[in-house]
């Protein structure tokens, strides 16, 4: 009898352990962790922009400082293969944005880039790599519904210090153009991004000493300032939630990545890792990638998103029922744990070298 009890106990322990391990593995698969993409190649990775439709495709700009070698390629995260879309041995270029369907990208090419007949904005078809000149000026982003284009234009009078910046909204269906921000002075735009419902736009305005984020409603033109100190740049709105990721610099020192709600509440510093830059969301809004010193990192944000989903912006708790077998008795206990365990978020780490 005792032997049978001992066997049953062993089986029970084995089943419980197996269950725990399986659950953890499943959770790891489901929640992933961090992926370091190491830029071992030359030139180094400068910017990344995640595809709006494909979880596995990240658009990478790798370039030397100024005039030199540069390449723009799509990195497939599942195969770790590069699909080079454009490259130069002597020039300067960077990827600006994907078009909403993920079939084309917009790049900027410096006027002295030898492989291109002229400088300006070019569209590249990602399937056949064909090039189409798009225009000499005007940094653009398409709204997720594809109906509007936000354009940033700088008007600089040659030989003078006159400089005017304007943020336009172009309605593609009605061909109407509207200016939603303008400044004739030293101000610059440090990035802009659409909300997933295409109804709001977040943009960063300022100079090299300080810049802040503003959210404007396209219909009502209601403007909300959401940051108030330091430099707050390159805002990117989550494609699935009302959360904005951005890079913050305090006192001109190491930039860090922050998350904030569009009303300015729940501002969370996401990373203390050095030189964090160019945040970009995965198409499902569950992961955020951003540049670091030796490449970039992909970070699953389950814990942070859960916190931002709470009204008071506090870490979410989960009440868990535990059933234990101890000395021939079943013990029922209630335990509260963090919604997502830190250890699970950090253990599934892999490194890709590009």
């Amino acid at each position: 009898m005792k032997q049978l009890e001992s066997i049953l106990k062993t089986i029970l322990i084995f089943v419980v352990c197996w269950g725990l391990v399986t659950a953890c593995n499943k959770q790891q698969e489901k929640y992933g962790g961090q992926t370091f993409i190491t830029s071992l190649g030359d030139p180094p990775v400068e910017f990344i922009i995640w595809s709006p439709v494909d979880q596995n495709q990240i658009l990478v700009t790798a370039s030397e400082i100024g005039q030199g070698r540069a390449e723009i390629y799509i990195l497939d995260l599942s195969t770790n293969k590069k699909d080079v879309l454009a490259q130069t041995e002597n020039g300067d270029m960077w990827a600006e944005t994907w078009l909403p369907d993920g079939k084309k990208i917009l790049i900027f090419v410096s006027p002295d880039t030898v492989e291109f007949e002229k400088g300006g904005y070019w569209l590249i078809d990602t399937s056949n790599h064909s090039l189409e000149f798009f225009g000499e000026s005007g940094r653009q982003i398409w709204s997720p519904n594809g109906r509007m284009i936000a354009t940033y234009i700088v008007d600089q009078k040659p030989g003078t210090n006159f400089r005017e910046v304007k943020l336009h909204l172009l309605d593609i269906r009605t061909n109407t153009d509207e200016i939603i921000y303008e400044d004739a002075g030293t101000q610059m735009l440090f990035g802009f991004s659409w909300s997933p419902d295409s109804e709001n736009l977040v943009y960063s305005v300022g100079d090299y000493t300080s810049s802040n984020l503003y959210v404007v409603n396209i219909k009502t033109k209601a403007l909300t300032k959401i940051t108030f100190d330091g430099s707050n740049d390159v805002p990117v709105w989550s494609p699935s939630r009302n959360i904005i990721a951005y890079a913050k610099v305090h006192n001109g020192l190491a930039p860090s990545i922050h998350l904030v709600r569009p009303d300015g509440s729940c501002d969370i510093k996401l990373s203390t890792l050095g030189d964090a830059r160019s945040p970009t969301w995965s198409p499902d809004g569950g992961k955020l990638a951003f540049g670091l010193q030796m490449g970039f990192i992909i970070w699953r944000l389950t814990k942070y998103l859960a916190r931002m989903d709470t009204k008071l912006c506090v870490p979410k708790f989960l009440i868990r029922l535990k059933i234990l077998y101890y000395q021939r008795r079943l013990i029922v206990s209630l335990t509260s744990i963090f919604y997502i365990e830190l250890s699970l978020e950090s253990t599934n780490t892999r490194q890709l070298n590009i």
Binding site: G66, F108, P111, D112, S137, G191, V249, G252, A254, Q293
Partner: protein, 161 residues
């Protein structure tokens, strides 16, 4: 403008040099230097030679004696002129010269009419305050390591200020 005035008033010579090649006696493809004091903006676009009071553009980067340099080439000249004016190469001096080089390149249209890309290396370096405090120098060093690891190999041995 100040850089141009410095070049003119100090009679700084400018030229396109002989090609710099990696090989015996020059394992890193460094520019020839009389004083052991050289500099560049970007991928060895050019260098200064304090002994001869001159700035040299690298023909390997496409510069020719009979052609106007690109906007980046002109920015490189101003960058090198700043080093000549500084008199001594330091980490802080490099920050100052990089910032000047980027601003000139932007003014001359290297980044197009819309200017430097937000979030770029140039943008991050221009955000550093021109102050020679240790935190700023450390942050600049970190950027050099990130964006120009080849040059960092030499940069790390420079005095801070």
């Amino acid at each position: 403008m100040h850089g141009v005035e410095y070049i003119v008033s100090n009679g700084v010579h400018m030229s396109v040099g002989k090609p710099v090649k990696i090989g015996d006696g020059n394992p890193y493809g460094l520019p020839p230097s009389i004083t052991g004091d050289w500099q560049s903006l970007g991928s060895v676009e050019g260098w200064y030679d304090r002994g001869n009071n001159s700035i040299v553009l690298n023909p390997n980067e496409g510069y020719k004696d009979d052609e106007m340099p690109s906007a980046w080439g002109l920015a490189t000249i101003i960058h090198e002129a700043k080093h000549l004016e500084q008199g001594r190469l330091t980490k802080y001096g490099e920050l100052e010269a990089w910032q000047i080089g980027f601003r000139v390149a932007e003014k001359l249209g290297h980044y197009g009419t819309d200017g430097i890309n937000p979030g770029s290396m140039e943008s991050n370096i221009l955000k550093l305050s021109l102050s020679d405090n240790q935190a700023t120098i450390n942050q600049f060093s970190s950027y050099v390591q990130t964006y120009d690891s080849g040059y960092y190999f030499f940069f790390q041995f420079l005095p801070d200020r």
